[in-house]
Symmetry: C2
Subunit: 307 residues, 2 copies
């Protein structure tokens, strides 16, 4: 089934121990949709500026991603500059220029309105909520957020959480959102805010899904997917968004959302995140095959398999 | 088969967000031997002072641990004081008093000499090497170390590594020992120093075994065991030593050291570490049953199980 994703499509300038790239295609919606495109059809809602040309457009087209929801506005696209020189697990931001994104008013093409899966990537929770309300037909709604919205836009974010089935955030964001340093207790606190499932992304250590605690107040159930220890991380940018794309894309490809489907989705999330960091920007995500993806899925499974 | 372990038997004063305990029984060899005692017979080599009395002795006796290698010396036992108030993952050391441990000369009882498994807990690598050389019959030798020895006693430590089958250390120690921030590259570097297997302990995220790279210089094989996300961590002291005890104890209980046995041993290591942190000091490790241990093993397995 089709996924609609709303989020940023951007240009990134990135420096890592492996080198530097200027103004490569980036943005949460870009990484998400490329990763998800290997599993299902994807439709993007975003805004770009006049610097978004045929080269960028072709990256989406080559993966069959529907871009009629990418609005062109006068001005420049969202731009981010960051480095990972001291710590590959945490970006140091040097510049964030919202540009056309500052006045973003998501417009939903009619052709997107039958999407049964909706992903609200990390943007202003006011916009996330507006898109969610404009797409009441969505059967499964997942989303992401970040420390900035948790700290300074908590009320708006809490409104979004009430309408989410699945929230995907990292360890630090989970602890900050719940105001609790113990991950399990924090996860239960977040589940009490609305989402039926919380997926906590641990970077190189994998991810943990917490679910099933909302109604009875008892301990949440957990499922943990490991990450493959990687020989070389070229560029960590977009790893979390690629995890979300693999996770949600795999779910959208399934006829039934069984517990087993969610478990495999956690593994596919880790798989897509692990590919994303192997090259700068979206390079690796642009040229995968489903066979490569399934081969790595098997490696992930083997990594923790007991006979 | 029997394990001989050499290491510290100590008194610890510990403060955590859950409270405070003064002078409870601690030390790497204590946690290790209690954890391993649920799987096989364990023999301890250590030195204690006059403050080590019947209360402490009975903790070992109740678990059937052979203590004839625990030497009594004039003076006080090794003492450590630390807290985990800001970060449960890293102890802040307030006091370390070597006391009788400063002049420790390990003496190996004749009755220990048929031990086929030898564990060199975290002590001066000069002593580790001496014990290893005095027990040439040991078929499988594993050991631990810490940042202090890696930084300031590197040459002595490297001699120990040449005689080890398995080294168990944490992420930071692995990176420091190899001088490489990428965990996979660092692991390969450590494997090049001698051990046939490196087990990297990730704390709340589990552990990864790297092995099989020494001879051909190609990428090491990996196996990752997750940790159970814990609702409450009362006292993290000894978690790593308990992991080692569960891991090595389980291996010593197996007729054949198959790849499957090593994988299950990684899970049993995580299981024993997760019990250790549930109460202060060694309280929880003193009163487990094998049924409780196997129940948690099943939970760990279920935690990452794909159909």
């Amino acid at each position: 089934m089709a996924i609609t994703v709303v989020g940023s499509v951007a240009f990134d300038s990135i420096q890592t121990p492996a080198g530097r790239r200027d103004r490569c295609l980036g943005g949460a919606a870009t990484y998400f949709s490329l990763a998800a495109s290997y599993f299902t059809s994807v439709r993007v809602i975003a805004v770009v500026g006049e610097d978004f040309g045929p080269d960028q457009q072709s990256v989406f087209q080559a993966r069959g991603i529907d871009t009629q929801g990418i609005e062109r506005a006068a001005g420049k696209s969202f731009f981010w500059e960051g480095s990972y020189l001291e710590n590959l697990n945490e970006a140091k931001t040097h510049a964030t220029e919202l540009n056309v994104f500052g006045a973003f008013e998501p417009k939903i093409p009619d052709a997107y309105r039958d999407s049964e899966f909706l992903f609200l990537a990390n943007i202003d929770p006011v916009l996330q909520r507006r898109v969610r309300e404009a797409m009441p037909q969505a059967k499964l709604v997942a989303g992401d957020t970040m420390n900035y919205w948790i700290k300074d836009h908590r009320d708006a974010l809490k409104q979004v959480l009430k309408g989410l089935d699945i929230l995907l955030i990292n360890d630090t964001e989970t602890r900050m959102l719940a105001g609790n340093n113990n991950l399990v207790q924090a996860a239960r606190g977040v589940l009490g805010m609305g989402p039926r499932m919380l997926v906590v992304k641990h970077g190189e250590y994998g991810a943990t899904a917490f679910y099933g605690a909302r109604t009875n107040g008892l301990g949440a159930k957990t499922f943990r997917a490991p990450a493959l220890p990687l020989e070389e991380v070229v560029d960590p940018t977009g790893a979390g968004d690629s995890f979300a794309g693999g996770f949600f894309g795999y779910l959208a490809s399934q006829k039934e959302l069984t517990p087993g489907a969610f478990r495999r989705a956690m593994f596919y999330g880790g798989v897509m995140g692990s590919f994303a960091v192997e090259r700068f920007g979206t390079e690796r995500l642009q040229q995968l095959s489903r066979a490569e993806i399934d081969e790595r899925f098997s490696q992930f499974r083997e990594l923790t398999h007991l006979d």
